[in-house]
């Protein structure tokens, strides 16, 4: 008992007691995921060695990709660009479509969250379009724009709408009554309640919608680029497959995964900054 109460007294005096706590390396958090990675690499290696001649082993793939990894931003003639440029082209489409989608989805979500009549009017539309794969919109977009790039952005725009609309509406309609009571007692006019109470109270929901939207948009862009061609990480995958160069496909898969992680983390940071509250994992 004695040492413990001493530490407590020390911390009460404001002396940090973390020095007494030994730093322990989080072995488990490193070893366990490493085992899982190794298992996947082993499976890959087994498949590549015994089942197919098209597939490179992990080591071959690494050697083939060394040039791409070391020089992500090369320009060797038209259409022959480093993977960094391809990634930036895809990111640009996604962010543009996502931003446009957000600009439309948040006001709509806010509106149908506030007005039950608007909800009744719009909800069937949302429910009808939400299960449709965004890629299905591509021919319609191509018919409208006649160009690959705006069409891809349009598909991302559609993709980004639904989760944000639904979550914004949910957030706005479920603002705790306590907060509204405070506003009422303070005689706050309705329009000021919108931006001083309802908007900040529903921000965590809105961010949940944005995270889902961006995640799906990043999934969809690969499929869209495979269909439209042009410069981008999705078309790169299809192009490399046509050249039977599967090593590059593996590289692209890892790059896409890492980029998705970074995008999600970026939104989390933005959310923490905007809401001043800890962010729950999705």
């Amino acid at each position: 008992m004695q040492p413990r109460s001493q530490t407590r007294a020390a911390s009460r005096l404001g002396r940090p007691n973390s020095a007494t706590k030994k730093f322990r390396f989080p072995w488990e958090k490193i070893v366990l995921p490493a085992i899982a990675f190794a298992a996947v690499l082993l499976l890959w290696w087994v498949i590549a060695t015994f089942f197919t001649t098209l597939m490179p082993t992990p080591w071959q793939a690494f050697q083939d990709n060394l040039d791409y990894i070391l020089n992500p931003f090369f320009r060797r003639g038209p259409g022959n660009l480093g993977i960094g440029w391809l990634l930036l082209a895809s990111l640009r489409r996604v962010l543009l479509g996502f931003l446009l989608g957000t600009l439309v989805a948040i006001p709509i979500g806010f509106w149908i969250g506030l007005s039950p009549r608007a909800m009744t009017a719009i909800n069937p539309l949302v429910q009808l379009f939400r299960p449709v794969s965004p890629v299905a919109w591509l021919p319609i977009a191509l018919a409208i724009f006649n160009l690959a790039n705006p069409s891809a952005i349009f598909v991302i725009f559609i993709t980004s709408l639904w989760p944000t609309v639904i979550n914004t509406a949910l957030g706005v309609s479920s603002v705790p009554k306590d907060y509204l009571d405070v506003a009422q007692v303070l005689e706050m006019p309705r329009w000021r309640q919108m931006y001083k109470i309802i908007w900040p109270a529903s921000l965590p929901y809105i961010f949940t919608g944005l995270r889902l939207s961006l995640g799906i948009a990043w999934l969809v862009i690969v499929a869209v680029e495979m269909l439209t061609g042009g410069i981008g990480i999705g078309f790169f995958i299809w192009d490399e497959w046509n050249r039977l160069s599967l090593s590059s496909v593996f590289l692209a898969v890892i790059v896409i995964g890492l980029t998705g992680l970074v995008l999600d983390y970026a939104i989390t940071l933005l959310q923490r900054w905007a809401t001043h509250r800890p962010v729950k994992a999705l």
């Binding site: 009571d181 009422q184 303070l186 000021r192 509250r277 800890p278």
Partner: protein
């Protein structure tokens, strides 16, 4: 202003010294429609008047409609019949002249302590200069000893600190009347008694009309001038009004030495027990 004297004085009003009509509750009935077309009467004919500097505690078993009564006075709920008058004019909607302190604090989690108080001040004192508003906020943060925590967010505070923010927010807009809905109900016993002391200190320095819902007899006797004891719902009414004969400022230890304190306490507990037996 001519004070209106035409309200019938409640029959069970035993109080003389506070018999002013600062807040008058008159024949108040609150009923909710129930399933089969008829109504469930929650409050059945409440009559009460509260003095301008009087601290009133309302006590009763849960479900007796005491929170509903407070919400009607606050304007957050409407009476089915009867009326509430503040300084002669009827209450119909919420207003900053009757500021509430909520049991669950109701702080806005995206604002710091200071910003929470500031939001209320900005909303109500819109004719003040920003500098004066600032001073008002800081003054009330200091009053509840929260100056050091002013830049923190509600999530980072303990329950007692949160309620101190709630109290600072309520007092900062200088309401005519303070409505407190079990303000200490969610706190642990030690924090509760410290916060009771702080609130009573503030009130004793600057008395005003207070209506506090509680289920704690000791809290009611320690803080209030009168204790309104409600009968059980449905059809709840005022069962009895106790006058607490102790002068302010009060000292909890000294109160506990007096036999009058125990008489009062036993009387109130006896009243509550008699209704508790009815329930079971």
């Amino acid at each position: 202003m001519v004070k209106a004297n035409h309200y019938p004085q409640p029959a069970d009003q035993r109080q003389v010294e506070f018999e002013t009509d600062f807040l008058v509750i008159q024949d108040l009935v609150k009923a909710y429609p129930s399933g089969s077309g008829d109504q469930t009467v929650v409050l059945d004919g409440i009559n009460l008047s509260v003095g301008a500097n009087e601290f009133i505690a309302i006590i009763g078993h849960s479900g007796c409609g005491k929170s509903t009564l407070l919400k009607i006075v606050g304007g957050l709920e409407q009476a089915t019949s009867g009326a509430v008058f503040l300084e002669g004019s009827p209450i119909k909607k919420p207003g900053a002249d009757r500021m509430m302190v909520f049991q669950q604090y109701s702080l806005l989690p995206w604002l710091t302590v200071r910003e929470n108080v500031r939001l209320a001040v900005d909303e109500v004192c819109d004719r003040m200069s920003p500098r004066d508003r600032n001073d008002l906020v800081e003054e009330h943060l200091a009053m509840v000893n929260l100056t050091a925590a002013a830049a923190k967010y509600p999530d980072e505070l303990s329950g007692g600190m949160k309620q101190r923010v709630g109290i600072a927010r309520a007092l900062a807009i200088r309401p005519k009347m303070l409505l407190m809905d079990e303000p200490f109900g969610a706190l642990d016993a030690l924090t509760r008694s410290r916060l009771q002391r702080q609130v009573l200190d503030i009130w004793e320095r600057n008395p005003q009309a207070v209506m506090m819902i509680t289920h704690d007899v000791d809290e009611a006797i320690y803080m209030a001038d009168r204790i309104v004891m409600m009968t059980n719902g449905p059809n709840a009414n005022i069962g009895e009004i106790l006058t607490v004969p102790f002068d302010h400022p009060r000292d909890r230890a000294a109160l506990r030495e007096s036999s009058a304190y125990y008489d009062l306490r036993n009387h109130a507990l006896g009243f509550l027990d008699s209704y508790f037996e009815q329930m079971s």
